[in-house]
Symmetry: C2
Subunit: 532 residues, 2 copies
């Protein structure tokens, strides 16, 4: 930590009524050396039935940096052998796995940093010290917050973390700003607590700083029925559901507005490391020559990096890098907010699973920062490949065209329809989308206003009712054709009578290539048929 950076400003006026009363309690007494501790009800560690855990893990370079196709037999040991036998991998390739052991007790010369004696015992709310250190050092390397006294705190995953943020920051009846389309589970959590989400427009650079200013400047508490929001919730890296990131300049603009209006930004960022290279149509895609370090530094920075006042509360998770089942993540933020979160965890969570802390912690220790960077890069390349499969598949089934050269938005037509006159094609477009900047999702804007029955339906009822009916019909058709997407309505942050767009979210994150391609093809075919 540079001594020149300022400390966090005092944001205690943002605390909820609940948070005001929360302070971490002393967790039993730690006896001084030589003293005999008969304080807590802790089991003797000799009675833990697990003697040791031996973990076989994929090495950081298990996945190639520039995959052109899937390894058909997977990356593990069995897949490695199969890939060699089928000629997909060179025989000289190093075995892709390593091993580590978590023993009952560490000895001085053990390479491991975690032991079951501590991992299976009660641990501090702040987690096992070795895990805490790894996390802190990783944030220092990657995010470099622009103030001095930032802290990290281990948690049990981002959805619980967001819930805790709501508890310490907002009282029932309060509100928060978010993107016009925001992560549906995050919205649901807030709404079931009696909180209001206020939508700000989003463009291809992310949440609009201009619209944020407009909403805040013109806030009319009487007309709205609740106070001006003090909190912004957004997914800064890659957004769910749009698949787009907030650019660095836009983050800075948003941060500046947040400072002027004294707001807190909760940055929920599960897909930060899944920033892909831009989608391109060439079959042999250009691959950037970068070291892993350069790759890490080339990622669009998080809000933390602009945060010189400690008003960003960042949520990270190991769900996308290790696995959601580990239920492990961490907050980064100011000492005040993290102290309140620690106190809240103490009452509601205690601490994250010691199995998770030890296994994920030891994995990160073995990887090291360099290895973990390489691992993330390999995984990101896989998700990028999947995104390419998905978009390529759309190109194969639809007539996909650039509408404006300055915009990344693509517009899709029924095959052949794109050949017609500009005016005609405008009225025949089926949908538009932006190839995702990374992450797991593609977000389709369905042009229901071009549906042959739309005008009649809208005339008979209303534009909104017509859209709802057509949207339901399309959803049924796609589902009956055997593909499950997620409906865009679930992501709407704030009801808006003027809302005309209907979206569908498709995930390209898992399953075999053939299924992904087939799913996209079915979607495209169904869409063409539906618009006939």
């Amino acid at each position: 930590m540079s001594e020149k950076l300022p400390n966090a400003v005092d944001l205690s006026h943002h605390l909820s009524d609940v948070a005001k009363t929360l302070e971490p309690r002393a967790q039993g007494q730690t006896p001084k050396p030589g003293n005999i501790g008969m304080d807590g009800g802790v089991p003797d560690t000799e009675y833990f039935p697990i003697e040791s855990i031996n973990v076989t893990y994929l090495k950081p370079a298990a996945f190639p940096l520039h995959p052109t196709d899937a390894l058909p037999h997977g990356p593990g040991v069995l897949g490695w052998i199969a890939n060699i036998l089928t000629g997909k991998t060179s025989k000289t390739t190093e075995a892709p796995t390593g091993q580590f052991i978590i023993p009952r007790r560490l000895r001085a010369d053990d390479e491991s940093k975690f032991e079951l004696k501590s991992a299976l015992q009660y641990s501090p709310t702040t987690g096992l010290p070795a895990a805490e250190r790894i996390i802190y050092e990783w944030v220092a390397r990657v995010h470099k917050p622009a103030y001095n006294d930032w802290k990290t705190l281990i948690d049990i995953g981002a959805s619980s973390a967001w819930s805790s943020c709501l508890t310490i920051l907002l009282n029932p009846g309060d509100s928060f700003i978010t993107d016009k389309y925001a992560y549906n589970a995050a919205l649901m959590q807030a709404h079931t607590r009696g909180l209001y989400s206020v939508a700000v427009k989003t463009d291809n650079d992310g949440l609009s700083a201009v619209d944020l200013e407009r909403v805040l400047y013109g806030w009319d508490e009487k007309a709205r029925g609740f106070k001006r929001p003090r909190v912004i919730y957004t997914q800064g890296g890659i957004q769910n559901p749009t698949g787009l990131l907030i650019t660095a300049q836009r983050k800075k603009d948003i941060y500046d507005v947040a400072v002027r209006y004294d707001m807190i930004i909760v940055e929920d960022d599960p897909y930060y490391f899944q920033q892909a290279t831009p989608y391109s149509r060439s079959t042999v895609r250009e691959t950037k020559k970068q070291t892993d370090e350069e790759w890490l530094d080339s990622l669009v920075p998080s809000f933390l990096q602009f945060d010189y006042e400690g008003r960003v509360l960042r949520l990270d998770t190991f769900s996308k890098s290790v696995g959601p089942g580990g239920r492990l993540g961490y907050y980064t933020g100011s000492p005040l907010l993290l102290r309140k979160l620690e106190a809240l965890h103490q009452s509601f969570i205690s601490f994250p699973s010691g199995f998770s802390q030890a296994i994920v912690g030891e994995l990160l220790h073995r990887f090291g920062q360099e290895g973990f960077t390489r691992w993330l890069r390999g995984i990101t390349a896989q998700y990028e490949l999947r995104r390419n499969w998905a978009i390529d598949a759309l190109y194969n089934s639809l007539d996909v065209r650039v509408k404006d050269n300055w915009s990344p938005t693509l517009t899709a037509y029924a095959p052949g329809d794109g050949q017609m006159s500009e005016k005609f094609t405008q009225s025949k477009s089926l949908m538009s989308f932006v190839p995702p900047d990374g992450g797991m999702f593609v977000w389709f804007n369905i042009h229901l206003h071009n549906h042959p029955r739309y005008k009649r339906l809208a005339h008979q009822t209303s534009p909104a009712a017509a859209k709802t009916q057509l949207s339901n019909e399309l959803w049924t058709a796609i589902t009956e054709a055997g593909v499950i997407f997620r409906r865009g309505e679930l992501f709407v942050a704030e009801d808006d009578d003027e809302e005309e767009d209907v979206f569908l979210r498709a995930s390209f994150s898992s399953g075999p290539k053939e299924d992904l391609e087939k799913g996209m093809k079915i979607f495209a075919t169904t869409l063409v048929k539906f618009f006939q």
Copy 2:
């Protein structure tokens, strides 16, 4: 489940305002066979960096049923070798460990029931199905609830579980009944939420059903300032801090009162399996010949076994049987309450760590119910041995005497003082205690009214102030002598001006025998000196 048992009665009027709005949400769409799921943002399981987990575990019989002393080198493989080399264990003893593997993917012929593919993925709020089944079947075997449609739900440990119970059952300003001295962290959690704990007297058979009736019958809402409690919180098996259990007859009596007053009993029971045989002074202690099955059936039944209406919400944990670090436990209760808890978990927890579920789940699968019973019995024998060490050590340093033949309470005097006349010794007793029925704690009632300065101090100030001052002095003296106990004041459920007793809780659950004996000796010596 017998078809003859009734279903749970409708207790929906007990739900808190929050609980009324909670319903489990559909968790994404599960695609039908043959359909392509592009709904959720789930990572591809091929990208999980953990290839397999190989666990070495202690076999169910690792600890002897009738230990007369500690195995000096511990129960593990290294300890086993050392114990053979030093002649502490016979050479023919079977190696005390086994192994299992949790692979990335299960194959049809695998003995394991858990795979990383599922354990590291998002899992249902209700946990991995194999873990869910093991838990349900265990409760069916052990507790046999007296109604038909009881359910279990996996959770992240009892302290979080109790917090969730408070959320679904009580509104701020509500109250609950508990033992006069109750688990301090449970009280703290409730008090920081603005809930009131109402104390009911406790005797050596546990919470008094008579006093419960008295408190409920005579409830004066105006005088009290809040409504009559609808919930009882108690630790039915072995209580913390008293170390005593609630007898079967007493549980039945309490349950009957609960039915008449339409109450819910939250039974937090971490020490259920740690029911020890009664303490005896003989150096060669009698050992009961029982099969493991008989042992399990001989345990004092839980409230669940008397629950024919579904008004018991039981909290179990693997903290004492596997390790607190696993953060794994489960509720048993009626479908209504468990549905509300599931919905709450969905928002606040998601699901317990998949590492914990898979490792603990697979361990239980390998143990089987019989093996797990044997394991619990072995552990209980160890804690019983520790209790004996602790009480034996007190006998060695103090003059410990039975006061009344009908009561298990023991009274302790300075060595030699017990030889004097009955009247004299009454005024010289230092403390009294009941040898614990099991668990981890012994609960000392310090006779400060016999302290030489008590009368003068009480006259100068008040009896309460005198006790506080002497209690502080004693605490300082014990701490300075190098022993850390926990102060009884922390366990007081309800302030009571007439309260005269001062308690200390000592844990005998961990650490070497020598430390335990030394700790007790220092306590005894400090006590004698303090009363001089």
